[in-house]
């Protein structure tokens, strides 16, 4: 059994990481999941959260919002709309994300069908801010 797999983290604006990893914790829409080599092929959407990567060269964390993760045979790609290394995240950054989510929540009030989604997004963002205790 291979003990590492290829991991790629890409956002539309740039590719953030491409390395060999042994485990990745993904904030999936239905809950967190940890993918290790030889995981069953899976595609899951992401909720705003922290992506934790563990590899031979130590571990790193990224804040990701929106997008999906694709676990394939021997490789894992995370496509996030926004991804930032946790070390670069500041309170102001989180506040900005929360403000954005709140704005879309308010905009959604007019369309009842998507208000739940927007509310969840807002709650996720706020939880993320608290979780990071910045």
């Amino acid at each position: 059994m291979a003990d590492t797999m290829q991991f790629d983290l890409v956002s539309p604006e740039r590719s953030l990481a491409s390395l060999q990893v042994s485990a990745v914790q993904i904030p999936g829409a239905d809950g967190d999941m940890t993918a290790m080599p030889d995981h069953a092929p899976t595609i899951t959407t992401l909720r705003p959260g922290i992506l934790r990567i563990e590899g031979p060269e130590g571990s790193s964390e990224y804040l990701v919002t929106g997008g999906f993760a694709e676990i394939g045979a021997g490789s894992l790609s995370v496509l996030a709309e926004k991804a930032t290394p946790v070390s670069e995240v500041t309170r102001a950054h989180i506040d900005e994300l929360i403000a954005e989510a709140r704005a879309s929540h308010e905009a959604a009030q007019a369309h009842p069908s998507i208000v739940d989604e927007a509310a969840k997004l807002l709650a996720d963002m706020e939880a993320l801010g608290t979780h990071m205790s910045l």
């Binding site: 539309p12 740039r14 999906f68 694709e70 709309e81 926004k82």
Partner: protein, 291 residues
């Protein structure tokens, strides 16, 4: 016959024009490199995204429960043309070519009895098609204040388009932009974004093996709006690179033309000066001989 002074002024003015076009060419070259890097950086995301979407669309697409963004509204009566051009001119045929393509498409659709609506991104294209399609304008996105194109710009445009789609303002959306091939070649392209089509994209044959969390339909519904933003983003980046490439070659031509003009004017200037000198000599000599 222009006087010596006129010629001199003329040469000076062409020289300063050449300086400006030369500078613009160099600025465009630097910006082109940046734009190309940005386009390059977004490619892995777009490629993976489209591959996954193609797989999903292939497995869900046939069913009636497929999202409207994929299936379409069931009609193709109202077309939204999103014309993406530059905010600035002086870039050769760049804006003109995109506008021409959009105009041709609009004329074709109208000949088929369809309704056309136009959303413009970039001031130059708006000006270019105003006369023919001005009455069909439904909106305009101004990017002139944007220094560096980001994904958020694309998201804003996508949001605008999706809101219009939800309000059932149109059935089919097509974006117009120029695909960057190299500095001298940019191909004006029309690409349908709603309903989404993934015919060009090669789906992974093994996508059927994937587990989906949540369900396939839910993922597709979540990703389709993002797909619109992704396609607009890559079109914006292609457009950015194309614009700088077109400007660079246009300014290169202009610089060369100015150089040729200066050479021609300088010869003319020297000839006139020589003629004046010869004339003066003849006058002096014939004056001396007459004595």
């Amino acid at each position: 016959m222009p006087s010596l002074k006129d010629l001199k002024n003329r040469i000076e003015s062409v020289k300063s024009t050449r300086k400006i076009t030369k500078a613009m060419q160099m600025v465009a070259a630097a910006k082109l490199r940046r734009a190309q890097e940005a386009a390059e950086a977004s490619r892995p995301y777009t490629a993976r995204f489209n591959a996954v979407m193609a797989g999903l669309a292939a497995s869900v697409g046939g069913s009636d429960s497929a999202p409207k963004l994929l299936r379409g509204t069931g009609s193709d009566q109202v077309h939204l043309l999103v014309v993406m051009t530059a905010e600035r001119g002086l870039c050769g045929g760049f804006n003109g070519n995109i506008s021409k393509l959009a105009r041709a498409k609009a004329a074709e659709l109208q000949a088929q009895g369809k309704t056309v609506k136009v959303l413009t991104v970039g001031k130059k294209g708006r000006d270019a098609i105003k006369r023919d399609l001005g009455e069909y304008f439904v909106g305009h996105v101004d990017l002139s204040e944007v220094k560096r194109l980001g994904y958020s710009n694309a998201q804003d445009i996508a949001k605008d388009i999706l809101a219009r789609f939800d309000a059932e303002e149109f059935d089919v959306a097509t974006i117009f932009y120029a695909k960057f091939v190299n500095v001298v070649t940019q191909i004006p392209t029309a690409q349908q974004i709603i309903p989404a089509s993934f015919d060009e994209v090669e789906g992974d044959g093994d996508t059927a093996l994937y587990d989906y969390e949540p369900s396939e339909e839910a993922i597709l519904a979540d990703l389709l709006p993002r797909g619109v933003a992704t396609q607009i983003f890559s079109a914006l980046l292609e457009n950015g690179a194309s614009e700088q490439g077109a400007r660079m070659s246009a300014m290169d031509n202009a610089t060369r033309n100015a150089g040729e003009m200066i050479d021609k004017l300088t010869i003319q200037f020297n000839r006139s000066r020589q003629a004046v000198i010869t004339n003066e000599l003849i006058e002096i000599i014939s004056g001396a001989e007459a004595l």
